[in-house]
């Protein structure tokens, strides 16, 4: 059974990590009272940034470029929504479309339309001494690219930050009662901009993870809806960091089922596995939304600037 469980766990973690990174970023944005549909675009931009960065300067440069690319998409979203007060949903949708078009065009311009088999440096697994020697789960959980360990830490750290720090409290106040937060001396627009930029950067890193720690290459549209799934995970995790971590793992497990089934010799149309995450999102959302309470100001139109 170990030969089924270990690959299953490894595949679960592999799928869950980029989702968790992106969803944690979106969590911050939503706790500040906004929805960024452009997260999908940030992930895609991050993936492309990782390709450019890594082919120029190795894995670390790849992650930095991914972060910057995601940050850029976040900055555009902040410009539209905070500065210009444009509609969040439409601006986010447009930014995703922009990312699809821009990365596609740049990719074909820089790397040729064939583009196949681009060899770029990838992030090697790092085995944590001791932990990685644990039976069954050791190698699957603790012999991973370093970015995975960052993702492990992000949930607890964010949970602590949101509930125990002054800044975390302020962020939540902005998402619940922006006018009260403003009256209490919090700069609502600045807080939201910071959340959007952090969310964009994390989305970019999520995209970088896809390229540098998984695929080892870039493909047009390779984000494949992960941004939207991440947004669903935030709802599923009831707007809490630990809930989001759990939600990402659930999605990872659902996607990893195909490996388990293959290992057990169970046959089904492969599209069934590909479609599973999206179906799971729909059913999970239907089950989760009614019982969770969203930040009160979530998605509401912003007050005109004074």
């Amino acid at each position: 059974m170990t030969d089924v469980i270990a690959p299953f766990l490894a595949a679960t973690i592999r799928t869950a990590v980029p989702l968790a990174l992106a969803a944690m970023g979106e969590l911050l944005v939503e706790r500040a009272g906004l929805i960024n549909i452009g997260l999908e675009g940030a992930i895609l931009a991050g993936a492309f940034g990782a390709l450019v960065g890594a082919s120029a300067g190795g894995v670390a440069a790849g992650f930095v470029a991914a972060l910057v690319a995601g940050l850029l998409v976040g900055a555009l979203f902040a410009l539209c929504v905070i500065v210009m007060r444009a509609d969040q949903i439409i601006a986010g949708t447009a930014l995703t479309l922009l990312s699809v078009g821009a990365t596609g065009t740049l990719y074909r311009t820089l790397f040729g339309s064939s583009g196949a088999a681009l060899g770029i440096p990838t992030s090697a697994p790092f085995s944590i001494p001791g932990l990685s020697a644990l039976p069954v789960v050791g190698a699957a959980l603790f012999s991973q690219p370093p970015i995975t360990y960052l993702a492990y830490l992000l949930g607890p750290v964010l949970a602590w930050w949101l509930s125990r720090t002054h800044a975390g409290l302020a962020l939540r106040a902005v998402g619940e009662r922006p006018e009260a937060a403003e009256a209490a001396g919090i700069n609502v627009d600045r807080m939201r901009t910071a959340a959007i930029l952090t969310g964009g950067a994390l989305g970019g890193i999520a995209g970088g993870t896809l390229v540098l720690a998984q695929a080892g290459t870039f493909a047009e549209g390779m984000s494949a809806g992960r941004g939207f799934i991440a947004i669903a995970i935030v709802v599923l995790g009831r707007w809490t960091p630990l809930g989001v971590a759990g939600g990402a793992l659930l999605f990872g497990a659902a996607s990893a089922l195909q490996f388990a089934f293959q290992a057990m010799g169970w046959r089904a149309p492969y599209q069934l596995f590909l479609v599973a995450p999206y179906l799971l999102t729909l059913t999970a959302l239907a089950g989760a939304v009614g019982r969770a309470r969203a930040p009160a100001a979530l998605g509401k139109a912003l007050e005109p600037r004074r």
């Binding site: 444009a86 509609d87 930014l95 479309l97 699809v100 065009t105 740049l106 669903a232 729909l282």
Partner: protein
């Protein structure tokens, strides 16, 4: 008043000129930034879209047809305050349903026109049903349609992928596509206009009807009221808001589904995975640029049809990636939402009561 009307018309023409100039300018800048030959690129863009009668009818208008339907679909939903990002999936459902019907029913039992009309009706129903899933989980569980319709797009894509490799695969089982639909069941071509088919007439009629619905019909007024202010529509208008939203979403899905049916019977004559080059997403740009007015969708769908047609020519003749057009589309959407927000701000700053702009 004729005076104000002619001034409004002038304003619209000026706006159209500005939009066209912005497109030409941004394309030129993007071409320049990408290191392509600007002259050759723009020339290919023009020749491939409006440069000849053949290009205009067989490329631009042929691509404008699905955009008229889906642009209308998005307008209907957005007007009601329902963010249907799922026109793509609804289009695919319609295409799959129409294909399945005409391939399943043996020709000869029923006259061809009856089959064609029923295929289009089934496509409409399939699109509406696909949207109904999102409407249902919105009404029942409060799941935002933005997320659910996007998820359903992916589900529809993989469903088509399964169908064309499984139950609907062509008889030789080599290619991932359905069997070709027999000639008798194709939508008739418009004489002297190349590949252009009577789907254009259906599309124009649909947009005209939808525009009339918003301007004249009581239900259209209720739909707009819900989109402008759900709380006011419920309290002052006594309108059943959730029901109106659900109906708008399903009507929107029906239009997108019809687009899929028309595309299969008019152009592709078979079902395959990439049957839509993103018509459902482009539709958002088409609808927003038209200010969510179906009558103006007639113009914007032709504009985007021309852009997509021209992009194909640019890729063929000047080696420019066609995805450049997505960038232009996205920039147009951003310009529209930012411009609208600026106008709202100007109105509120001028001390007038803050009202929603008429096309919001």
């Amino acid at each position: 008043m004729p005076h104000s009307r002619s001034r409004r018309l002038l304003g619209e023409i000026a706006l159209a000129v500005v939009v066209l100039a912005a497109i030409a300018l941004s394309s030129a800048l993007l071409l320049l930034a990408g290191g392509y030959q600007v002259g050759a690129g723009l020339r290919a863009l023009w020749l491939g879209s409006f440069g000849s009668w053949y290009a205009f009818t067989s490329s631009t208008l042929v691509r404008a047809i699905p955009l008229m339907f889906t642009g209308c679909a998005v307008s209907v939903a957005f007007r009601a305050g329902v963010f249907n990002i799922g026109a793509e999936g609804q289009f695919l459902s319609g295409a799959a349903a129409a294909t399945a019907l005409v391939l399943a029913l043996p020709l000869g039992r029923l006259p061809a026109p009856v089959l064609i009309v029923s295929a289009l009706l089934v496509a409409t129903a399939a699109g509406a049903a696909w949207a109904a899933i999102a409407a249902l989980i919105r009404a029942r569980f409060g799941v935002l349609e933005v997320i659910s319709t996007i998820m359903l797009n992916f589900v529809a894509l993989y469903a088509v992928s399964y169908l064309v490799r499984g139950p609907l695969q062509e008889p030789t089982r080599v290619y991932p596509q359905s069997a070709t639909i027999v000639d008798a069941l194709h939508l008739p071509r418009i004489p002297g206009a190349g590949r252009l088919h009577v789907g254009l007439v259906i599309a124009v009629l649909s947009t005209v009807l939808a525009g009339w619905f918003f301007r004249r019909a009581a239900a259209g007024f209720r739909l707009i009221a819900v989109g402008e202010s759900p709380s006011a529509a419920a309290s002052a208008g006594g309108i059943d808001v959730p029901r109106t939203m659900a109906r708008a979403l399903m009507a929107s899905g029906g239009l997108a589904g019809l687009a899929g049916g028309v595309e299969v019977l008019g152009i592709t004559f078979a079902l395959y995975e990439n049957i839509s080059p993103g018509y459902g997403y482009t539709a958002i740009a088409v609808a927003l640029l038209a200010g969510l007015d179906p009558w103006r969708v007639l113009l914007t769908s032709m504009l985007f049809g021309a852009l997509e047609a021209g992009a194909g020519a640019m890729q063929r003749d000047a080696g420019v990636p066609s995805s450049l057009v997505s960038v232009i589309e996205a920039l147009l959407i951003l310009a529209v939402v930012v411009g609208r927000a600026a106008r709202v701000r100007r109105i509120s700053a001028s001390g007038m009561p803050l009202a929603s702009p008429p096309d919001a």
